[in-house]
Subunit: 215 residues, 2 copies
């Protein structure tokens, strides 16, 4: 018998990770999803797919007309325009997961985070991942060997804008060790799943406990 | 370099565990303290020491006059009368730990918890530990072989009163497996230590990060 077997029903939660690119978020997100019984929200975007990206895995790549229609039909839980490209989170999949009591993982920026927090504060947990230093962030972007020097310079400028939003988040993790950062996120997820306010089935469990007749 | 090495200064927190006796709290408390860099708050009590108890470890056993004087001098962070005996938490040690940025673990009942939450909501994390069933709770009390049958009956009645307070707690853990319950408490502690609102040194860390000049 494990603790899980007695775990009463609870509301699903939305776990949002934000960070500047190069801070390790993508690796952390992939590992988290596969090991922690999470549904990953795949964003839509109008920007061009990079060679390393897979449609439906990293993003769903859609055209501008489709994006605008989704916005107009309120099919996006959050959306933003960044450097002329549209980014957004499809609402339907997220709502289906939550309704089934499952948790959803988001890899989105501060703008999207703000919108989701405004809509569903009680069901949202937000984590910001900081690099240990800007020098380390840059060397990770260089090691990744994916971008030209001018793109890296732009990413570093964007990183400063993103980092400046750290104080809007519930938790902040400094990622100077990927395993430690992963363990920290797992602990946050475990803890948030144990919050009394999310355990909608706990009242019934305790009522049963108190009503138990001992022979 | 570990995440801890970059961890900015943070305020100490008060981690309160409550549960009916027999739910495993004492074992969990001892293990937590030794492995997680926590200071344990030792309560004072006017009740008689049991043969299995050690003064200064399980409680500090004091006489009624000393207890009343502590109360009158505001030396107790919380106190309660239970079955004619006084119980309380000495304030000085707790405040010294918190001021040093250390966390303090409390093993107290719902009355004490309420008092501490009222005084310091932002610095308190409360966990309630439930038994998986009343039958299991009773069999643990019987296995412990410490109490006479009438004392066990009284403990079970008290357990129902304590359990009825579950909904005042931040987190609820159903302890049907001691290792799983221990891991759950550790995860809560890890998560709460990562809360942005406690990381008083994080603003300075980010300022330094943003000011960093890249060669």
């Amino acid at each position: 018998m494990t603790a899980e077997s007695h775990r009463p029903a609870r509301r699903g939660l939305m776990l949002i990770l934000s960070s500047p690119s190069g801070a390790g978020k993508t690796t952390l997100t992939r590992n988290l999803k596969s090991e922690n019984n999470l549904d990953l929200s795949i964003s839509v975007t109008t920007r061009t797919r990079r060679p390393s990206e897979i449609d439906g895995v990293h993003y769903r790549f859609i055209d501008r007309g489709t994006f605008d229609a989704m916005r107009q039909h309120n099919d996006l839980l959050e959306w933003a325009e960044v450097h002329g490209n549209g980014y957004g989170t499809p609402r339907k999949e997220v709502e289906a997961s939550l309704a089934a009591g499952r948790d959803v993982l988001f890899d989105i920026d501060w703008q999207g985070t703000q919108q989701i927090v405004k809509k569903a504060r009680a069901d949202v947990v937000t984590i910001f991942i900081l690099p240990p230093s800007m020098a380390e962030l840059r060397s990770r972007l260089v090691r990744r060997a994916e971008d030209a020097p001018d793109v890296i310079a732009k990413r570093l400028a964007n990183a400063r804008d993103e980092i400046a939003r750290w104080s809007q988040y519930d938790y902040v993790i400094i990622n100077d060790d990927l395993d430690a950062a992963y363990d920290a996120i797992k602990a946050i997820l475990t803890a948030e799943r144990l919050k009394r306010s999310r355990a909608v089935g706990l009242g019934d469990f305790v009522d049963q406990l108190l009503a138990e007749e001992l022979a």
